[in-house]
């Protein structure tokens, strides 16, 4: 590659507090227009903001989880601009003294770890919603004033895939913290991207494009991929690149220039005189640290150490907190010494059952004790692995016990030599050529013979035992 891609992401996350940032209005989603509003979030003359303690708490949690330095002295500023979704025509945000700076987030792209810098995490408030009709635009202020965090990354991301992995990792951590729903479709997580290209090894950054209007992580990746191609082409043909904002058009799969007449923005930031400063001392930070849950990275390391899992397996298990908790409960309750057995069951059959049913692992209707019981049957070679998978599926469907299902399906493996002998004799008789082949040293022939026995026993024969008998019989 001749060019290096440089991407920085700006993520907005709605905090899941009960009330808005500066007033007691509910943050419930999907209410009738302008029903979750009061003089404060409507910016009525004379109204004043008071910040939500829980929002500050959540914000500090998030900043700490992203390894940021919490600033001892922080304040709110006003960002002034006119827009109908902004009732005061300024947004309460943070400018020169943000809540936190200098954090990082570790991501894995193609199993290679990389540390992505986080410039800052700051507090602000959400704007309202606009609905554009033929003649007019309609304004709903229900969303106005919901507490937001802006998480700004360093331009450390070098491919659309890395951007995607960053978002996945970011979302995973935020879900662990339980401070936001992180639902891009509902708008509780939004992402804008800055992207530029430069010749490999160059120090100067290229002309950047700001990308907006992506509605999913995939959308972010697709828009960035398109933009890499577009910018590469412009650079190759030495055309003039403009610093501009472009909108992702998901239907057409292209980015379109957002032509604005406004010149450079002048937000006239200044300290909001209606709000006091915040002094966040070490004691407060220490207190909040104790509220932090174990985060995905830590959990992964612990799973490896405590349960002897491989890094790849542990990584899959910790991707969401609820699934990780579910997996850990299963692993803990599993009486076997080799915890990997259980992990394999979760990552293999269980996960595919969940995917099939389009639910999360922990949402599967499954009694852990029964899962353990089922694995026991397999380990005692009472049933085949194949049968066990079918039993698992049925257990989830109808909630019956493993034992009942094995009995019902008559799935008990036949490991009894005498019972198997007759079938084996028949197979030997009917497959003279394969018997000769085996005797001539072709080991594959044994597999074939075992297969035939399995077939005749309707899959119940224990293939290991069958193999041994045949081997003995023919040697």
């Amino acid at each position: 590659m001749k060019y290096q891609t440089v991407i920085g992401l700006e993520v907005h996350v709605q905090l899941n507090t009960k009330t808005k940032a500066f007033c007691g209005c509910s943050t419930d989603f999907g209410k009738a227009p302008n029903s979750n509003v009061c003089p404060v979030c409507l910016g009525f003359p004379g109204s004043l903001p008071v910040y939500n303690r829980e929002a500050l708490n959540s914000a500090i949690k998030l900043a700490l989880a992203f390894n940021c330095q919490i600033q001892e002295h922080t304040k709110f500023d006003r960002k002034n601009y006119f827009y109908p979704d902004l009732p005061k025509n300024y947004q309460i945000s943070q400018y020169d003294l943000p809540l936190s700076r200098n954090g990082y987030l570790d991501i894995f792209t193609n199993d290679t770890p990389k540390r992505i810098g986080i410039t800052r995490v700051h507090l602000e408030e959400d704007a309202g919603k606009l609905i554009h009709e033929a003649q007019a635009s309609l304004v709903d202020f229900n969303r106005t004033g919901i507490p937001l965090l802006e998480i700004v990354s360093e331009p450390d991301l070098n491919s659309p895939q890395e951007a995607f992995d960053y978002l996945t990792s970011l979302k995973s951590i935020i879900e662990y913290l339980d401070v936001s729903d992180c639902d891009m479709e509902k708008g509780s997580l939004r992402c804008d991207a800055n992207i530029s290209l430069r010749i490999q090894g160059a120090k100067e950054l290229g002309v950047k494009t700001e990308l907006k209007n992506m509605n999913s992580f995939k959308g972010v990746k697709d828009a960035l991929t398109f933009e890499v191609q577009r910018q590469t082409k412009l650079l190759e043909t030495q055309e003039v690149m403009l610093q501009e904002t472009r909108l992702w058009d998901v239907e057409q799969g292209i980015t379109v220039s957002m032509r604005t007449k406004e010149g450079a923005k002048d937000y006239r930031y200044f300290p909001d005189p209606d709000l006091t400063v915040f002094i966040i001392d070490q004691a407060m930070i220490a207190g909040i640290k104790t509220q932090l849950p174990e985060l995905p990275q830590e959990k992964m390391q612990r799973f490896i150490k405590e349960y002897g899992l491989t890094e790849a397996d542990a990584k899959i298990l910790v991707s969401t907190k609820n699934d990780a908790d579910f997996a850990e409960q299963c692993i803990r309750e599993y009486p076997g010494k080799d915890k990997k057995e259980m992990a394999n069951w979760i990552i293999g059959p269980l996960l595919s059952e969940a995917n099939l049913r389009k639910v999360k692992l922990h949402e599967l209707k499954l009694d852990k004790k029964e899962l353990i019981s089922l694995i026991g049957f397999v380990q005692r070679q009472d049933i085949s692995h194949l049968s066990a998978k079918n039993v698992l599926s049925q257990m989830i469907d109808n909630g019956k016990t493993a034992q009942a299902l094995i009995k019902e399906g008559n799935l008990q493996q036949i490991s009894n030599t005498e019972e198997l002998a007759a079938v084996i004799e028949t197979v030997i008789r009917e497959n003279v050529k394969s018997v000769d082949d085996f005797k001539a040293g072709k080991t594959n022939a044994l597999m074939y013979l075992v297969g035939q026995v399995m077939k005749k026993s309707a899959g119940k024969a224990n293939p290991k035992v069958v193999g041994e008998i045949i081997r003995r019989r023919l040697s």
Partner: protein, 477 residues
Amino acid sequence: MELNQFTAHELLAKLKNKEVSAEKILLSLQERIHKTEPKVKAYARVGEVENSAANPSALSLLKGLPITIKDNICTAGLTTECCSKILRGFRPPYDATVISKLKENGATIFALKANMDEFAFGSSCENSYFGPTHNPWDLECVPGGSSGGSAAAVASDEAIWALGSDTGGSIRQPASFCGVVGLKPTYGRVSRFGLIAFASSLDQIGPITKDVQDAAILSGIICGHDPRDSTSVNQEVPDYTKSLTGDIKGLKIGIPKEYFVAGLDTEVKSIIEEAIDKLKTLGAFTDPVSLPHTEYAVPVYYIIATAEASSNLARFDGVQYGYRVASDNLIQMYKMTRAQGFGPEAKRRILLGTFALSHGYYDAYYLRALKVRTLIKQDFDKVFQDFDCIVAPTSPTPAFKIGERAQDPLKMYLSDIYTISVNLAGIPAISIPCGFTKKGLPVGLQIMAKPFNEEMLFRVAHTFEQNTDWHKIKPKL
């Protein structure tokens, strides 16, 4: 004497003894307004009838006594327009915290709201959308501003007492011009919730009354912590009437030399000096002190106050309430609404404030102003290490003629030269009547104290008042 001429505490005594009823007091006010309002024009929207239900409860502190409210304090269901066209017809769906407190204590909120300079932008009450208020002592003069309506109403007995707001002198200067008592409490002492903001870091609501005792009573009601105002301080409110001891023996009073320089009217100067002598004879010690950054107060103020105002007033855009010029283009709707809805002074201040915050000028203007504000506050901190209070004129001149300064904004701004520092420092100050010019215009004495030491102001002001008769003289209307 008519009922409307009494002070609030006198009427409260009469109400307590059942000599009068709240309804009778209201009636006497209405009669007075009928007679003198055409001359004084202390109220906004006089022609429009609005409900003001009397709130008489024999057990309550205020027993239904009516109070006049400045047009920038939100009163649920009562039109509140800041005397601006842009807020035309605005009826707030809520009461300001001070209004709730007054109602809880049994006050009747007078339905007519007091006239003011549009959005409190002014020192003369000439910048009202409803036209100027006239000074009851000389109808050709301004009543001061921006709480000119409140002060003129109290001075002309068209109100028993009133609330104003003070951002750079807007209570004290009109109190001085109209010969009444006006207090600007410590920043954070009175909730600003429901006060339509001019400059959030400077605004305070305060009483305008006929004497110091009334100011102490009213302060006791409106002061106190409000969880809805982040800048409201959680500190106990003392019983201010206990400060009315009549004794100032041994108090140390600072006389700032920067307040007695060129620009101070000679007649005002000698009246203030007499007042200071009076305080000495009453047992106080006085010494000259210095507030060296006084000359920078006006420029600092006109940056900070206009910057905050430019942002506070951005919400008046024709979307949710008030006046709107119809247009099918959004930006045009904004621009025309604001061009036609704001008066010239409002536009001037919004533009000045927008400029001070704009890219490339922030550091040179706004940031620098914040720094000088620190220096101004430090000047006061230093003096209050050694002195109990500071005494100075409230205004460099008595009331001036209507129209005299209207064409010269800068000259108008300098009217507030003695009151602005107090707001910048966040300290409390009171203006009380201390004499009259030869032409019969009142002059106000300003007393300033440490933050949250309103008690000192009441003590000194009350002692002076009890030993003089200036507050008893009424204008002839």
